[in-house]
């Protein structure tokens, strides 16, 4: 099947130097999802790959590939991305699969760099955040739209989802709900839904660094106008997950959000600082950080983001539940909604 796909791709390719399927070499990267294959294609004697080909047969997977194809064309036409991104090369059907071919982006995976660090210092965390969030700020620059408060109210309806997600009769759940309502009321119209171009899955695995530039791949969950805080939350969460894995390999993935924001250590402090900084950059008060954070997590849990498209939000519901429980436990009995 792999050789057939490469041959079919070579037949579609309109480039000066034809791709010879027989002499091309392929790295096969298995994905976490069934019926997804990622093939990295090397032309003969080339030290770097030329193309990345994604193949998928499932309805959801095909939809994600269609979204990525549209996103890559949009990126090519608008040149919005501040660094290298893949260029779409071909999209075609092969047997029962959809095939999306794109150019390979040069660089070393940010995740690979993180995993090779023997120690991760607080200074390194700050520098990494600066690189990743710096790219994000440049990417959304000029494309930010602040929707009216009414839209935030509809987002606040996500808070009512907490009532469905959280267990009834638990003290911590009641406290979390009360705090959320109080926090939303206190912030009032200062809360706005800010939409901007979004990558949708901006974690260290999808960031490549090459000669001082930052390239970003995997645009399957991209959207031209999505709540800007989605990308910020995903980025901070995925980064904390990668770092926590280095420091404590036994940490449950569902506890990473609490680990990222609620601990009293350098990683959590830096993560909270960056979250507040992003809120201010998007025109919201820093004091609303906790309620906006919780609402954003709940938006994921409700499946309202492209990120939950394949997992159905089940994992995020568990993340939200564990986060709210940890959050409730971390605060004194009374007092304003605030992080420790």
């Amino acid at each position: 099947v792999i050789r057939d796909v490469i041959a079919a791709f070579a037949a579609q390719l309109e480039e000066h130097v034809p791709l010879d399927p027989a002499s091309s070499r392929v790295v096969h990267l298995g994905g976490v999802w069934e019926d997804r294959a990622v093939l990295v294609v090397f032309r003969p004697r080339q030290p770097q790959p030329s193309y990345v080909i994604k193949v998928d047969t499932t309805a959801t997977g095909r939809q994600l590939l269609e979204q990525e194809f549209a996103a890559l064309r949009w990126l090519r036409d608008t040149r919005r991305a501040p660094g290298p991104v893949p260029v779409p090369v071909a999209r075609f059907e092969h047997r029962d699969a959809l095939v999306l071919a794109q150019t390979a982006v040069p660089g070393r995976s940010f995740m690979a760099q993180l995993r090779r660090r023997v120690r991760i210092t607080s200074g390194a965390v700050a520098r990494d955040h600066a690189v990743l969030l710096g790219w994000l700020e440049q990417f959304r620059d000029g494309g930010v739209v602040a929707a009216d408060p009414g839209q935030w109210l509809s987002d606040c309806e996500a808070l009512t989802l907490a009532e469905q997600i959280l267990p009834t009769g638990k003290l911590w759940a009641r406290r979390a709900l009360d705090d959320l309502r109080r926090g939303a009321d206190a912030a009032g119209e200062a809360l706005r839904t800010v939409v901007a171009p979004s990558h949708g899955d901006l974690g260290p695995s999808n960031v490549l660094r090459h000669r001082g530039r930052v390239g970003v791949i995997d645009w399957e969950r991209s959207h031209p106008a999505a709540p800007a805080l989605n990308d910020v939350l995903i980025l901070l969460h995925h980064y904390a997950r990668a770092v926590s894995r280095q420091r404590d390999g036994t940490l449950d993935t569902r506890d990473v959000m609490a680990r990222a924001f609620l601990h009293d250590d350098a990683l959590s402090r830096e993560t909270r600082r960056r979250w507040r900084e992003q809120l201010v950059a998007l025109g919201m008060p820093a004091e609303a950080d906790a309620v906006v954070l919780t609402a954003t997590i709940l938006r994921f849990a409700a499946g309202q983001t492209p990120f939950a498209q394949r997992s159905g939000g089940r994992m995020w519901r568990q993340i939200a539940r564990r986060f709210l429980r940890a959050w409730s436990a971390s605060r004194p009995d009374e007092g304003a909604l605030a992080h420790p």
Binding site: R3, V27, G30, G31, W33, E34, D35, R115, R116, V118
Partner: protein
């Protein structure tokens, strides 16, 4: 196309299989059998090399042995010639012998290639596999430039030792030394009949 999910089913994508063809799976590997059946193959599962050499059985179109440890005596000319029709595909997964001997079913790239040639297999491609045979997340051709690319760009260490090793390899431009980071090998070849 059956791939992904980080188990042996990824290997199905490497077999040039048509619907209705007969595929033998040697050893116990339910995800692979399931994936082959879903792809329309007529799957025959067996546990021992002796079953393949049974004279009364028709040769299969393709043979897959995802872990040679389960059938260490598979790579014998009489077994392979008997089991697979000429032109059929053979896919073998094996532990990678890195330096010291680790048992009869472990191979280096050279010994695996030689064993396949002895069995009458041609057009052989050897791949390095991470993280393991049962979890093949990356299947990388054994080619200096591609191994170098993988190890310097996308390789994710699983232990502190691998982190240190990978950092060192990034500096010295590894080539085949990078193979040491792959615990398993996969070979793909075509049975050409008499060697």
């Amino acid at each position: 196309m059956t791939s992904g999910a980080w188990n042996e089913r990824s290997l199905v994508a490497w077999i040039p299989m048509q619907e209705g063809e007969r595929v033998a799976v040697v050893g116990s590997c339910p995800p692979l059998v399931d994936a082959l059946a879903r792809a329309g193959a007529e799957v025959w599962q067996c546990q021992r090399a002796a079953e393949l050499a049974d004279g009364g059985r028709r040769a299969v179109d393709h043979l897959m042995a995802p872990d040679l440890r389960a059938v260490p005596d598979l790579l014998r000319p009489d077994v392979i010639r008997h089991a697979v029709r000429p032109g059929g595909t053979l896919l073998i997964g094996t532990q990678h012998r890195r330096g010291r001997p680790t048992g009869a079913a472990a191979h280096s790239t050279r010994s695996l290639h030689a064993a396949l040639v002895r069995c009458g297999v041609g057009r052989i491609d050897i791949f390095a596999v991470r993280q393991s045979l049962s979890n093949p997340r990356a299947i990388v051709p054994v080619d200096d430039r591609i191994l170098r690319w993988y190890v310097t760009t996308g390789f994710l260490p699983l232990s502190r030792l691998e982190s240190i090793l990978a950092s060192g390899l990034s500096v010295v431009r590894p080539g085949r030394v990078a193979l040491a980071l792959f615990p398993a090998l996969m070979a793909l070849g075509e049975v050409v009949g008499d060697p």
